[in-house]
């Protein structure tokens, strides 16, 4: 409003100044015009006063000349006519008259040449001849030349026989004009000597004259009224002067008249006013022009100054605006808030912050063209503000909405708080949308909520765990304590003692696994777990898993099937122990939570290689067990979680197994997923990547002269798979899908003296099974060709019969090249097939050995001593590391077979003691096997043991199978005769 008033005031001021300037200009112009009019009138009158005076003088002069010549000529006689002629010719040249005539009152006129000329002079003739007065008259000569005649009476004379009494000279109009000096107006003035009736006597116009009676012409051609004409006539008749103005045609004239002073002649001039005032008008025009130019210059200067000032202000404003815009752009680009300004009437976009592309994925230009494009990004369309709501926002008011937008490029959802302000900017209504990004805030809230939920869940889980643990620990402990009491009570009853000890042992194992899990979980969660990376064999791994889990599955009459698909790399580098732990957890869970007679499929497949240095394996454990609810699937990997239902309640568990598994998979950089359906079973999938050891050129087959083998399996895919797996070995693989065909092929080759180097038979084939086929082959081929049986079943039950059929060895399914080779190698090394005494050797592997046992805990030492005594192993005890070192150094070489070294001991721990032993001068310092025997069971404990120079690691409590296995590995089985 203030601006409007200001503008109106400025406009009013400009109008006032303009009107004042125009008024002043008009007054000035009028004043100047008036002055010019007066001056030009005076000027005109002065000029014609002068002309009149000149004319009078001219007339008088001519008459005077005529009179003087007349006096002279009156004295001349006829003989002197030549002299007269010369005189006049000379005078003519001097005065400029065109003709000279001798005039006779009765006989007309003759020229100097004596030629007659008809000059009548009208009324003036009488004045001349009768009144003897000098006269002046207009005349047209016989030549057509129009002249003004001046005549004067002179004394009578005679010229060339012509008697004259007057003389006359003539002037042309041009000569007259020149003489009268009326060219003051550049020939634009009409100057006449007229009679008082208007009849023109003399005209001084350049080029001639067509006016006969100027008064008549004025009356006809000009705008002079009849009364004015009458006044002019009256003035003329009274010999008065006058000046009037009139318009003839398109031209304004000043008409000036004044009596000549001779007879009733009037000097009449008609001069265009533009000519009269030319000089003054020129001054006026120049003055006006100068004023206009000055005004324009001043105006221009003012305008330039105003424009410069405006431009400067505008530039400053623009610059500030640009700065602000730039700053705003930068600001809006760097924040996650979107700003939009809409025209309230047109809903066109006036401004949109450039960060909209970054935040919503819509280019600002696109949104600028049509703001409705944003509607496509809104998640909850119900928050769209309709026009009616916008219109309802009062000026300076605002409304707010929470909304969520989907980023058009990334699909990311972002939450905004949209505030719409209704404003009036320079009298134009605008809506300003400020969309404040609340994504982080919402996410944080969500995370906090989730964290709170997780904390609550964890808390609940821990509570549950503690509750479970309390129950789970107390349960075996209760059994141990209870059965220990019963043991003491029934010590004399061997059956009860064995029964109680078995139950105490079982409870102890359960308690131990419980503790191991808790410790494992704790170790993993604390981030102290590290991987023990080593080269291992996938087939071996599967073999071990089979050994561990097959009995469990068998115990529940479950079918545990192991599938291998496309495993190209059998040797990999990784933490076999942890992988084993993962798979055992999954498989044991599968066994645990699958009902009797259920099915468990364990599949290992190698995924396509992305790099040659690594191979990725997918381990899938699928069962048709009890499955899991969707809710539990989400927390199956959370620690201390167990689904509580009627079935699981009966199954012992810590609720840490899957959490440990998940953490181990994460630790190994793998992925674990679960799909499950309650009542239908679960499928766990683990993907892990292992480094692949450098390939060693396998020339073993060639050296052993194994070039062709025959495979017989009713499953052709297995045959083809074996072909594919053996492709790189250079060994030709031929197959038959039944036993008879295999026999035919073998016989055929044999007859050609091209026996197969090895024959591999599936145990269970339709028709002839593997054993029957072996019988047939041995019958046809004899004993030269090694025959192996490939089976996924435990072959212990049929081993004796197989041996009888001539089968040299068994191979577990699935087929692995390395397993195949390991099976064949002894055969080709002419190692005889071991006899049936093998089981006894296992029991006596440690018999007669002498172990140095370093153990600070007397109870543990005693248990170990007693347990090893069962194995016919003798022990010498050292209570700490120092003592152990001393005893070893003091021993004779070969005295001790092995050192079992506790790690945590007073005085000197096991690692230090080992290092001392290895560093000692004892001849067997470097070779004596030292095995750690400790409750520190983690991978780094094993690695530390190895690093200190130990050869093995046994976890407490002592598992005799592990001890036996380790001893055999390090020392080999004891000779039967050995007895220290």
């Amino acid at each position: 409003m203030k601006k409007w008033i200001g503008r109106m005031a400025l406009l009013f001021l400009i109008c006032i100044i303009g009107i004042a300037a125009a008024l002043i200009g008009t007054i000035y112009f009028h004043f100047i015009s008036q002055r010019i009019y007066e001056d030009s009138t005076n000027h005109l009158e002065e000029i014609y006063d002068q002309v009149n005076y000149s004319f009078g003088a001219f007339v008088e002069k001519n008459w005077g000349l005529l009179e003087s010549w007349g006096s002279y000529m009156s004295l001349a006689d006829d003989e002197q006519s030549d002299r007269v002629h010369d005189l006049i010719a000379k005078e003519q040249k001097y005065w400029g008259f065109s003709d000279f005539y001798f005039v006779s009152s009765g006989n007309g006129c003759i020229s100097l040449e004596g030629i007659d000329e008809n000059i009548d002079m009208g009324e003036e003739w009488k004045n001349l001849t009768e009144k003897r007065e000098p006269v002046m008259a207009g005349e047209t000569l016989s030549s057509g030349k129009e002249v003004t005649v001046f005549a004067a009476p002179v004394p009578k004379g005679e010229y060339k026989g012509f008697s004259y009494d007057a003389l006359a000279i003539c002037y042309t109009n041009a000569d007259m004009a020149s003489s009268l000096n009326v060219n003051a107006f550049s020939g634009n003035a009409k100057c006449f000597i007229v009679h008082n009736d208007g009849k023109i006597l003399l005209s001084t116009q350049t080029g001639g004259n067509v006016y006969d009676n100027y008064l008549v012409y004025l009356k006809a051609a000009s705008d002079i009224s009849d009364s004015s004409i009458a006044k002019i006539q009256k003035d003329w008749s009274e010999g008065k002067s006058g000046l009037l103005y009139c318009r003839i045609g398109e031209v304004d004239y000043s008409i000036l008249y004044q009596p000549v002073g001779y007879q009733d002649y009037i000097l009449l001039s008609a001069v265009p006013q533009s000519v009269v005032s030319a000089g003054f008008l020129s001054v006026q025009k120049t003055t006006t022009n100068v004023m206009i130019v000055l005004s324009m210059l001043i105006g221009a200067a003012v305008i330039v100054l105003l424009v410069m000032r405006y431009r400067k202000m505008s530039l400053k404003s623009r610059t500030e605006l640009q700065y602000r815009e730039r700053m705003f752009d930068v600001l809006s680009s760097s924040v996650d808030d979107i700003f939009i300004m809409l025209d309230a009437e047109k809903h066109s976009v006036d401004y949109i912050s450039p960060n909209i592309e970054r935040l919503i994925g819509i280019p600002a230009e696109q949104a600028h063209k049509d703001i409705r494009v944003l509607l496509n990004c809104v998640v909850n369309s119900d928050i769209v503000i309709p026009d009616s709501v916008l219109e309802a926002i009062p000026l300076q008011g605002n409304i707010s909405r929470e909304c969520e937008y989907v980023h058009q490029s990334t699909g990311e959802r972002r939450g905004y708080r949209m505030t719409v302000y209704h404003m009036s900017i320079q009298d134009v209504r605008k809506y300003i949308f400020v969309m404040s990004d609340r994504t982080m805030e919402l996410q944080m809230n969500k995370q906090l909520k989730e964290a709170l939920t997780a904390a609550r869940t964890a808390n609940e889980a821990k509570s549950n765990f503690l509750s479970n643990m309390s129950h789970d620990i107390r349960t075996p402990m209760n059994a141990i304590v209870g059965f220990s009491m019963l043991l003491e009570k029934d010590a004399d009853d061997p059956d009860k003692v064995r029964k109680y000890t078995r139950k105490i042992t079982a409870s102890s194992h359960h308690l131990l696994s419980l503790i191991n899990d808790v410790l494992d979980m704790s170790k993993i969660e604390s981030g102290k777990t590290s991987l023990n990376v080593e080269r291992f064999s996938i087939p071996e791994l599967l073999d071990e898993l089979g050994i561990i889990l097959m009995p469990q599955a068998k115990a529940k009459t479950q079918e545990l099937r192991i599938h291998v698909q496309g495993v190209a790399h059998e040797q990999v580098i990784g933490d076999k122990l942890r992988l084993n732990q993962i798979l055992i957890n999954l498989l044991s869970n599968a066994v645990k939570y699958t009902q009797d007679n259920g099915k468990i499929d364990f599949t290992i497949s190698e995924l396509p290689q992305s790099t040659q240095q690594y191979a990725t394996f997918c381990f899938t454990v699928k069962d048709n067990g009890i499955g899991m609810s969707e809710e539990f699937q989400r927390q199956v990997f959370s620690p201390f979680s167990r689904e509580i239902n009627s079935v699981t309640n009966k199954i012992q568990g810590t609720g840490l197994g899957m959490a440990i598994t998940k953490n181990l998979v994460d630790l190994m950089g793998g992925i674990i997923n679960v799909e499950s359906c309650p009542g239908k079973g679960s499928t766990f999938t683990v993907e892990l990547t292992f480094a692949v050891p450098d390939e060693e050129e396998n020339e073993l087959w060639y050296h052993k002269k194994i070039t062709n083998i025959l495979v017989a399996d009713d499953d052709e895919e297995i045959c083809i798979d074996i072909q594919e797996l053996m492709k790189d070995s250079g060994v030709g693989v031929y197959y038959a899908t039944n036993g008879a065909a295999a026999v035919d092929m073998a016989v055929s080759a044999h007859n050609k003296n091209e026996d197969f180097d090895v024959i591999l038979l599936d145990l269970k084939m339709p028709g002839m099974d593997g054993i029957q086929t072996a019988y047939k082959l041995r019958e046809k081929l004899g004993g030269g060709v090694p025959i192996l049986v490939l089976t996924s079943y435990d072959w212990s039950d049929i081993e004796n019969e197989a041996r009888k059929a001539g089968i040299n060895a068994f191979m577990p399914k699935p087929f692995f090249v390395s397993t195949f080779w390991q099976t064949l190698e002894p055969l080709f090394s002419e190692i005889t097939v071991r006899d049936n005494e093998g089981e006894d050797i296992g029991e006596k592997v440690m018999a007669g050995r002498l172990f140095l046992v370093a153990e600070d805990n007397e109870m543990n030492a005693e248990i170990l001593t007693e347990v090893l005594a069962i194995e016919d192993v003798k022990c010498e005890l050292a209570s700490n590391g120092v003592e152990a070192v001393k005893m070893f150094e003091a021993s004779e070489p070969g005295y001790y077979d092995m050192i079992l070294m506790d790690v945590q001991m007073p005085v000197m721990n096991g690692y230090e003691a080992t290092k001392k032993i290895r560093a000692s001068s004892h001849p067997e310092a470097a070779t004596i096997p030292i095995v750690a025997m400790t409750a520190n069971t983690f991978a780094e404990d094993v690695r530390n043991a190895m690093d200190s120079g130990m050869n093995g690691h046994l976890a407490k409590p002592i598992d005799m199978d592990a001890v036996r296995e380790t001893v055999i590995r390090l020392l080999g089985p004891s000779a039967p005769s050995t007895n220290k």
Partner: protein
């Protein structure tokens, strides 16, 4: 035709059979037949038939009138003379078409005839070639073309006629200032005005005429032509022709002049007796004559009449009788009888039975000083008055400039020559 030929041969035989065949008396006694060749319409003029009848009646000679259709006349007559079969007397205007008759070969120069001095100066001048040879006896209605003005009106306005181009311009402006149309310029279909301006250019400098007819120069090379065109353009712009001059045609000239709407027009005296409307505000007595001013000559010009001449075949075997025939026609008594009551300007000094306008009589002094024979229209080969006006009208309609107008006049002239196959050699 055959009858004519046989008749003519018999006449020749009869003439030759008599002695002293040249004398009038002999002719009275012995009838001779002269052949006269001319356009049918020309030969039917009353003064023509009158003089023919009178000749035959008085002399007893016979006249064999060979009349051709107007459209065939030039070609047929030329063909006859080409074949040596030209008539004894040959009627023709002194114009460009006469060139095709090889004048010097076929016609007798008449300067030595007694009646030659009886001709008025203008008539005699018209009948002479550029070398001063008198080609024929003018026996035709004569007229004077000039600027006819309303003297009554002029006097009432306090004005008088112009004697120079400057005065004429002054007069036009003075008249314009009074509100009258100074000049009636009938641009629509009237074409004679331009030739009045061109006459002085070519009549005063016969070499120019030769040069333009020889294609050595064009109108564009003659400054006076452009001066004239420029003046016409300026006059129109100043309003001297009035406002509707482009629509003014033959039929409007009379009303404009008689009503006093226009003060002056370029026309000829006999027009006042043939086409000027009677019963209007102004009568023929209100008009006077002054020269035409078209800015080609300072003192203006008049155009003399275009006259039909009686020419004598120099190769005729009745040459003397033919010359006698001309002498008969040039006899004061005979021509006054023939032109009795005919409105014409005198061709003969002793002509007194004809009707000659006072306008011409009053302006005799000026006419004598400023009259030119009709030169442009009759002597410029390829000249077409209509073409000239067409070009002018295009300029007056502002479609072309002055220079383009002059150029167009030339182009039209050349085109006319080509279309007619006319030679301007």
């Amino acid at each position: 035709m055959k009858k004519r030929l046989i008749f003519a041969m018999l006449a020749v035989v009869m003439i030759c059979s008599f002695t002293g065949c040249a004398s009038n008396k002999a002719a009275q006694d012995e009838s001779v037949t002269l052949t006269i060749m001319g356009k049918q319409t020309d030969l039917q003029k009353s003064y023509m038939t009158s003089i023919f009848d009178r000749y035959q009646k008085i002399t007893g000679n016979k006249l064999d009138i060979i009349a051709y259709e107007d459209s065939e006349y030039e070609r047929a007559a030329a063909d006859a003379f080409e074949k040596g079969k030209g008539s004894d007397i040959f009627l023709h205007f002194h114009n460009a078409d006469l060139n095709r008759f090889r004048v010097s070969d076929n016609f007798y120069y008449l300067n030595d005839q007694d009646w030659a001095d009886e001709l008025t100066d203008s008539a005699k001048a018209y009948c002479m070639d550029k070398d001063g040879n008198l080609l024929g006896l003018p026996f035709w209605e004569n007229s004077v073309s000039g600027c006819y003005y309303n003297k009554t009106l002029l006097n009432s306005l306090g004005l008088k006629p112009a004697s120079t181009q400057a005065e004429f311009d002054m007069l036009c402006q003075a008249l314009a200032d009074t509100g009258y149309t100074p000049i009636c310029w009938p641009a629509n279909g009237c074409s004679w005005m331009v030739q009045f301006g061109l006459d002085p250019i070519f009549a005063d400098d016969p070499k120019l005429l030769d040069n333009i007819n020889n294609n050595e120069i064009s109108y564009s090379d003659i400054p006076a032509v452009k001066d004239m065109v420029q003046w016409i353009s300026d006059a129109a712009d100043k309003g001297w022709f009035g406002e509707k001059y482009l629509e003014t045609g033959w039929d409007q000239i009379s009303s404009e002049m008689a009503s006093g709407q226009a003060v002056m027009t370029f026309i000829w005296d006999t027009w006042f007796y043939t086409d000027f409307e009677k019963g209007n505000k102004y009568t023929v007595d209100d008009f006077a004559l002054m020269p035409v001013f078209l800015n080609t000559v300072e003192n203006g010009t008049y155009e003399g009449g275009n006259l039909n001449m009686m020419m004598v075949n120099k190769n005729s075997d009745k040459l003397d009788i033919a010359l006698d025939f001309l002498e008969f026609c040039a006899s004061e008594e005979n021509y006054n009888i023939a032109f009795d009551g005919i409105s014409t300007v005198n061709c003969f000094k002793g002509q007194n039975t004809n009707i000659q306008s006072e306008m011409v009589t009053d302006a005799q002094k000026s006419i004598k000083a400023n009259e030119r024979v009709s030169t442009a229209a009759s002597r410029i080969v390829g000249y077409s008055a209509e073409d000239m006006v067409d070009a002018l009208n295009m300029m007056l309609r502002k479609k072309i400039s002055v220079d383009q107008c002059v150029k167009l006049m030339d182009e039209k002239r050349i085109a006319e020559i080509k279309s007619n196959g006319a030679s301007n050699d």
